[in-house]
C-alpha cells in the first residue's frame, strides 16, 4: 500500500472530502427555496386514474437533520482518522481496538483458567469442569492433527495409547506443547541398499510380533545393531530424549505394513509439532496437559 501513501494523495483525498462536505451544505442552503406558480401545486403525476400528490413542503426539522449530518461528519473527522494521514484526536486505531478487546477478554476469561493453575494435574484429570475446558482447548488447538478423539492419524501421534515418543510425564508434555518438537528419522536407503532395507524392515516388524521372514530377520538384526541402536536402542524400545519411537509396541506412527516400513527406512521421516507458547499461556497449557493425560486409559 505504500505507493498510495505519498503526501500528494493524502492531500488530494482530504481536499475531496472537505470540498464535498462544504458543497453539500451549500447545495442544501440553495435548495431550501424554490419558485412555484401557485400554492397547492401537484407533482404533476397521476396514479390510478385520479390520484394526485400535492407538492407540499417538508417539515423544517427535516432540513435540520441534513445539517446535523454535516456537523457530525466534521466532528467525526476531527476525532477519528479520516482525513489523509490525520490520526484523529482520540488516537483510535483498528489495532488499538483489537488489543483493547483482547485485554478485556483476557481480564474476563483469564481467571477461569487461572482458577485451575495451582491444582495438581492428577486432580484435574478427575475434575469434570477442568476436563470440559481442556476439551474445548484441545478441539480448537490440537484436534486438527491429533483428531477430535486424540487418537491421531497417519503421521500424527495417537495421544490415547500412552505411547509417548518424547516422554509422558507432566513436565515433558508441557514442554512438548509449549516449545513444539521436531522428530527426524534420517534416510538409510543409500547406505543399506534395497536388500538391506528389506531385511531391517523384516526385523523391525518382528520386534512388535508382526509376521516376518526368519532368514531376513536374522540378516536384518545385524544391520539394525550397526545402524539403528544409537537412537532406537539395542532392545528397540526407543529413546524419549531423542524422540525415537518404541519399535516393540503396537503403535506405528506412519504405518506398520511392509511397504510403509521400507519407505520409512529408505527415505527417512521428518515430523513437526508446532510450538504453542505464543497462542496458549501457562494456565491453558496446564489444563490441556491434564486433558491429554486423561485421554490415555
Amino acid at each position: 500500500m505504500s505507493e498510495f501513501a505519498s503526501g500528494v494523495w493524502d492531500l488530494y483525498i482530504a481536499l475531496v472530502t472537505i470540498v464535498s462536505i462544504v458543497a453539500c451544505a451549500v447545495f442544501l442552503k440553495s435548495q431550501s427555496v424554490r419558485k412555484v406558480r401557485a400554492e397547492g401545486e401537484t407533482t404533476g403525476h397521476t396514479w390510478d386514474e385520479d390520484l394526485a400528490e400535492y407538492n407540499n413542503p417538508l417539515p423544517k426539522w427535516w432540513s435540520w437533520l441534513f445539517y446535523v449530518t454535516i456537523v457530525f461528519s466534521l466532528i467525526y473527522l476531527v476525532l477519528y482518522p479520516g482525513l489523509g494521514t490525520w490520526p484523529g484526536t482520540l488516537g483510535w486505531s483498528q489495532v488499538g481496538q483489537l488489543k483493547d478487546e483482547q485485554s478485556r477478554a483476557e481480564k474476563q476469561f483469564g481467571p477461569i483458567y487461572q482458577k485451575f493453575a495451582t491444582i495438581d494435574v492428577e486432580a484435574l484429570k478427575k475434575n469434570p469442569e477442568a476436563l470440559a475446558i481442556g476439551q474445548k482447548l484441545f478441539l480448537n488447538n490440537c484436534a486438527q492433527c491429533h483428531a477430535s478423539d486424540g487418537a491421531g492419524s497417519r503421521g500424527f501421534p495417537n495421544l490415547t495409547a500412552a505411547a509417548w515418543q518424547w516422554g509422558g510425564d507432566v513436565k515433558t508434555i508441557k514442554t512438548t506443547i509449549a516449545e513444539g518438537r521436531t522428530g527426524v528419522m534420517p534416510p538409510f536407503g543409500a547406505s543399506l541398499g534395497e536388500q538391506g532395507v528389506k531385511n531391517v524392515a523384516q526385523y523391525v516388524r518382528s520386534l512388535s510380533g508382526l509376521t516376518a521372514d526368519s532368514i531376513r530377520v536374522a540378516l536384518g538384526k545385524d544391520i539394525y545393531m550397526q545402524n539403528c541402536v544409537a537412537c532406537h536402542g539395542a532392545d528397540g524400545k526407543g529413546n524419549p530424549a531423542l524422540g525415537a519411537p518404541n519399535l516393540t509396541d503396537k503403535n506405528w506412527l506412519h504405518g506398520s505394513t511392509e511397504p510403509v516400513v521400507i519407505e520409512t527406512i529408505t527415505k527417512g521421516r521428518t515430523s513437526q509439532m508446532p510450538a504453542h507458547k505464543t497462542v496458549l499461556d501457562e494456565a491453558r497449557i496446564h489444563l490441556l496437559t491434564a486433558y491429554v493425560l486423561s485421554l490415555s486409559k
Binding site: V36, R37, P57, L58, P59, D149, S153
Partner: protein
C-alpha cells in the same frame, strides 16, 4: 400565504415550520374501541415482562446467551426462520387488514397512536382541553404556565422512562433490571427508548405518520374501491352551513378540531388520515344534538358512496387470506412437531481414515449436541449405513439443560468396505423420552 395568480412565479420555502395540532377530546363508540385497544396492548406490554414461567421470565429475548424464551418455547439461533415467518405473517396480516378495512392498525393499535393517545390524555388532564391548551400556549410567561408545563413534561418523562425500562426488561430480566444496578448498555437503551417514546408521543405525534412511516406511504397501493375508509357524505352534507336549503353539515368544524393529524376529512381521502374515526364520533354527537341522522361521516367504501355494492371477497383479499392461512398453519404445525434437540455433525478433516485393530476402518466425527429443553438429558448416539458400522466406545452422553456439548465420536466399519466416500446416518436419541430423535447424514471415508 395568499393564493397568487396561477401564472406568476413566487418564492416558497421547501421546508415549513410545523403547525401544532390541538386535538379536541372526543367520546363515542370508536373512541371507546381505541381505549379498549390502548388498555389491551399496554396491559400486555407493561405486564408481560413480569409474568413468570418455569422459574424464569415467561417472555425473554436473551441476546447475550442467544436464547429466546416464549412461555414453554425456547428458540435458539438456529430457529431464526421462525422470526422470519413471524415478520411475514405480520406483514401479510397488515396487507389483509388494509385491503379490507383500511388503516385499522394505524387508528387503533399502532404504538404511535396508542402512546400519542395516552400522552394527549395526560396533557388534557393537566392543561385542559383544546381551547384551554391553545390559550395557554398563546399567553405569556406566568408561574401557572410554568407549573402546568413542568408537571406535564414530568409525567410524560416518567411514563416514557418506564416504557423504556419495560422494553429493555424483555431483553434483560426485568426483575434484575429494577433491583440491581443496571449495566451501561441497559441504561443506554432504557434512556434511548424512553426518549423515543417521549419525543414521538409528546412532540412528533402526527409527523411520525406523515413523514417517517413507510406504511403510511405504501398503503394506498393496497386500497381499492371496496376498502373501508372514512368518508364524508358529500351528497347529504353539501352545501354546508346553517339555515334552510343547506345540507346536513352545519360547518361546526368539530371534525377538524378532533383530528389528530389536523386534516379536514370533508376534503376527501388523504394520506394523512390514519383512520382513527375521531371525526365520526365528533360528527355523530353534533348530528344527535341537531336532530339529524348520524353517519354523515362514516366508515364506508368508494363503491358504497357511488351507490354500488361493496364486495368484501375480492381476489386480493382471497389471495392474502389464503397465503396467510397457509403460512400460519404451516408454522403452527412446524412448532408443534419441533424436536427439542439439534445435532450438527462435523467430520474430522485432517485425519481422513485410519486402520485400527482387526483391520477395521475408523473415522472420527465431532457431534455438536444441543439440548434445547430446560431439563438435563442423556442421549445415545447410533450410526447406520455401512456393513458392520458402529460407534466405538461410550455412545451415551449427558447434556445439561439448554446447553451444548461437543462430543468426539469414533465410527468403525468392516475392512471389506471399498475405498471411497460413503453416506452414513447418525441417530441421536434422548434416553427415556419418546420421539426426541434427530437424524443427521454424514460421510464415511475409506482410503
Amino acid at each position: 400565504m395568499k393564493l397568487n395568480d396561477a401564472t406568476a412565479l413566487h418564492e416558497q420555502s421547501l421546508y415549513e415550520v410545523r403547525r401544532k395540532i390541538y386535538p379536541r377530546a372526543v367520546h363515542g363508540a370508536f373512541a371507546a374501541w381505541r381505549w379498549t385497544l390502548v388498555w389491551a396492548t399496554q396491559l400486555v406490554f407493561y405486564g408481560g415482562a413480569w409474568v413468570t414461567w418455569n422459574d424464569r421470565q415467561a417472555v425473554l429475548f436473551d441476546i447475550a446467551h442467544r436464547k429466546f424464551y416464549l412461555f414453554g418455547l425456547v428458540f435458539w439461533p438456529q430457529d431464526i426462520i421462525y422470526l422470519t415467518v413471524l415478520l411475514i405473517i405480520s406483514a401479510l396480516a397488515l396487507f389483509l387488514f388494509t385491503a379490507v378495512a383500511g388503516r385499522l392498525w394505524c387508528g387503533y393499535a399502532c404504538p404511535q397512536t396508542v402512546y400519542t393517545e395516552i400522552f394527549i390524555w395526560i396533557e388534557r388532564a393537566i392543561e385542559g382541553d383544546r381551547n384551554a391548551r391553545m390559550r395557554l400556549d398563546k399567553e405569556g410567561f406566568s408561574f401557572t404556565k410554568l407549573f402546568l408545563k413542568t408537571a406535564k413534561h414530568a409525567v410524560w418523562l416518567a411514563l416514557a422512562l418506564w416504557t423504556g425500562i419495560t422494553f429493555v426488561g424483555y431483553f434483560t430480566p426485568i426483575r434484575e433490571l429494577v433491583t440491581s444496578a443496571p449495566g451501561a448498555w441497559e441504561t443506554f437503551w432504557a434512556l434511548f427508548y424512553g426518549f423515543a417514546t417521549y419525543g414521538n408521543a409528546g412532540w412528533m405525534r402526527e409527523q411520525v405518520c406523515k413523514y417517517m412511516c413507510p406504511y403510511a406511504r405504501f398503503q394506498s397501493a393496497m386500497f381499492d374501491k371496496d376498502t373501508l375508509i372514512i368518508t364524508y357524505d358529500r351528497a347529504r352534507g353539501e352545501p354546508r352551513g346553517k339555515g334552510t336549503g343547506k345540507g346536513d353539515c352545519i360547518d361546526c368544524s368539530i371534525c377538524v378540531q378532533v383530528c389528530p393529524t389536523g386534516i379536514d376529512i370533508r376534503d376527501g381521502l388523504q394520506y394523512e388520515c390514519i383512520g382513527c374515526a375521531a371525526c365520526i364520533d365528533g360528527c355523530d354527537q353534533v348530528m344527535e344534538k341537531i336532530g339529524r341522522p348520524k353517519k354523515l361521516i362514516r366508515y364506508s367504501t368508494t363503491h358504497a358512496m357511488e351507490g354500488r355494492p361493496t364486495r368484501i371477497f375480492r381476489p386480493r383479499v382471497l389471495v392474502y387470506s389464503a397465503i396467510l392461512a397457509l403460512i400460519a398453519a404451516a408454522t403452527a404445525a412446524s412448532l408443534y412437531l419441533r424436536v427439542p434437540l439439534k445435532v450438527d455433525v462435523i467430520r474430522d478433516r485432517a485425519a481422513i481414515a485410519r486402520e485400527v485393530e482387526g483391520g477395521l476402518i475408523e473415522n472420527v466425527y465431532r457431534l455438536q449436541i444441543m439440548n434445547t429443553t430446560e431439563q438435563a438429558r442423556a442421549f445415545d448416539i447410533n450410526v447406520t449405513g455401512l456393513p458392520g458400522i458402529l460407534v466405538w466406545g461410550d455412545n451415551i452422553t449427558g447434556v445439561p439443560a439448554a446447553e451444548t456439548r461437543m462430543v468426539p465420536v469414533r465410527v468403525r466399519v468392516d475392512a471389506a468396505v471399498p475405498a471411497g466416500s460413503h453416506p452414513i446416518e447418525f441417530t441421536v436419541r434422548a434416553l427415556g423420552v419418546a420421539g426426541v430423535e434427530v437424524h443427521e447424514s454424514a460421510v464415511f471415508i475409506v482410503r
